[in-house]
Subunit: 458 residues, 2 copies
Amino acid sequence: MSEVVERLRQVLPPEALVTDPDRMESFRYDRAMFCPAGVPAAVVLARETAHVQAAVRAAAEFGVPVVPQGARSGLSGAANALDGCVVISLEKMDKILEIQPVDRYVVTQPGVFNAVLSRAVAEQGLFYPPDPSSWEFCSIGGNLSTNSGGLCCVKYGVTTDYVLALEVVLANGEILRTGRRTVKGVAGYDLTKLIVGSEGTLGIITEATLALRPATAKPRTMAALFGSGVAAGEAIVEIIRSGVSLSLLEIMDRTTIRAVNAYKRMDLPEDAAAMLIAQSDAGGAAGAADIATVAKLCRENAAIECIEADDEAEGDLLLEARRAALLALDELGTTMIDDVCVPRSRLADFIGATEKVARDLDITVGVLGHAGDGNMHPTVVFDATDPEQARRAQVAFDKIMEIGLELGGTITGEHGVGVLKRDWLAQEIGPVALSVHRSIKAALDPQNLLNPGKVVVS
Amino acid sequence: MSEVVERLRQVLPPEALVTDPDRMESFRYDRAMFCPAGVPAAVVLARETAHVQAAVRAAAEFGVPVVPQGARSGLSGAANALDGCVVISLEKMDKILEIQPVDRYVVTQPGVFNAVLSRAVAEQGLFYPPDPSSWEFCSIGGNLSTNSGGLCCVKYGVTTDYVLALEVVLANGEILRTGRRTVKGVAGYDLTKLIVGSEGTLGIITEATLALRPATAKPRTMAALFGSGVAAGEAIVEIIRSGVSLSLLEIMDRTTIRAVNAYKRMDLPEDAAAMLIAQSDAGGAAGAADIATVAKLCRENAAIECIEADDEAEGDLLLEARRAALLALDELGTTMIDDVCVPRSRLADFIGATEKVARDLDITVGVLGHAGDGNMHPTVVFDATDPEQARRAQVAFDKIMEIGLELGGTITGEHGVGVLKRDWLAQEIGPVALSVHRSIKAALDPQNLLNPGKVVVS
């Protein structure tokens, strides 16, 4: 038994420590493809902040790397284990600690699933907007670590916009408390937003205070069908230009629609090349006017058909279809999901260029995404047992990021860098920004113990 | 002539360098009271990023501190000169470089005044929300450096929520480009939001890309009068609890109203102890309903009178009154403006405790602020030529911050730390957070050249 495991046994209760190789196996990977994963020396199932502190201190004592993990639903390999590391899983820290309806915040442990938290606050007439498609199986801690987005970002912004305060275990085992419970506050550097999105490389989040909004009105939903992805992209640009306020604006192409129909036994129209889904939660006449505006703009921009959902249930069904898209594509083969975000004025160009990549490389790419944000998830589907196809898949995946950068976009809108896009990060941000990343990493984690090799290579 | 001035002469065009003591005098102070200010060795009036780089490199060569300055409208002494320093003023970098209506962003130099930028984007049907009361005489660069708030934060958030990308000159003279022009993006650490609010201690902002929103509907405005500040505070809590969406919710007490009447020759009602101003920009029936809800809640919570503005001009006049409050109080004597933000549920407690401080210390305190955010600006007014009164003013100023912290609030909601609240910062954030601040400062500015002694003492 290694020294670090021996020390962990001394400082942790037995139920917080896993060293059995079979049990540890499931803690090796998140949901990213083509990312290496090592074999951990131990997995710590922290029940409280003190367990995280104890584990970090034990790891620091022996210079062993620490890999923090939420629900392992990540798509960039940020939660993948390293050989001989201590995995610190936060999945058992799954309590909602406080919901404050007047000051509108919730205090939560990181292991709570996004949908669980969203439903708990909804019961009190409140709304936690960030809603990744994976909300039923992703944790708040993971959302914080990657600064997750979701479907309603187009109106309500992303995770970082809702984080008021954090409790963070630092690399030296100390507890950092960032932020505050007030709406505004500028006392000192914004350490909260520095930790959010840092993918476990600067500290381990053990508690979060998240801002809430009042519940929204019942949404009105519509779908519009287009003869080509580019036409749908052009309609989106006109919708954005109009300034109409939507709470959701998503796109799915025919490949994706077919996959969802098969997976969810749904009956979405497969004759169109692309479908937009738009939602307004403005309520009453305002919501109806928003949807009418979108329908008009879609018709003026080559929509084949516009269908308004008859009721909320029908609207929910459309959203369920969209949320299931990645799982549905997973059924067709191995998937690699891109996460490029482009300036919205370039969406049609991006869709066209992505479709060309699929044609040129003769590979399936399902085009879907948060169109209203310009955050697209072209998903390459392939047979991983065919090395030649796997190679082309990798080329397509990279080519799509390259197109994103060429159009003034970013390699990742919400999934993070992890190990999957480390080299691409350097390309996107350049040497000065990379060097600043390294300086900050070294300042907060001088031994390079926290999730080393993720995001930036030191 | 000192070595650094000699080097500046070599590397800068003559119009970018001021060394005449009389001309330099006005570059010594921002608008904070009781903050020491030194005499600079030189003032650099940068016209372009390269001038900032050259000045930073010259200062670094001789180990001379650099103090970046915007419009010197700050209220915490962050822009005050240090003895022998190089002041780098950004006021001549005052061009708006690009307005992009579809992608909804503006690229601007830092010296542009907030109101100038706001009007320029409004001409294209766009809206830049952060609107400090000082918007006519504060610069975007200063807004970024202190993460300014304003009147419409209650609905639209603060400066950091609108910053997409920055160009920053680092302590070593290199140019850091943070962020991107897309709506979303998580590639790497959020360096943008780390720089925002860092008060010139981590880098000097030379360009910013700011997100815009579509123009809002015409606002509806109302005022409500109350018999006591505490009653007004209780009404605010009920307004927040109701979830009604307001674009503005401000409070002014009788002291402030009287000062504004005298200063602006206005005719605001002086018989009430406190006045709330509420605005909805939801437009049409929704806006009318919002204002009706607020009026109803005010009446149910002891309002003496509720008055809806007849038209937009009357509403604008109320806002103009609120924006002039600090300048009006300045006419009554020397002022020290607090900037405490408390959880909104504690507003009535905060107002009551602040009034008690004024009574106990027999000193004038004008109570005003962004009530809807819990961000209050109690302003101590005193005769600075009377040492005993000045002492009590300082005690009152500090006591109000203490109350804010006791109520779970922060010492600064939007004005920043500067030198004025350095000791208070340590009290608010504690030793671990302070040590993380110092690590980050040392990582980005190892020689401690950028605005040393501001925010954190190294």
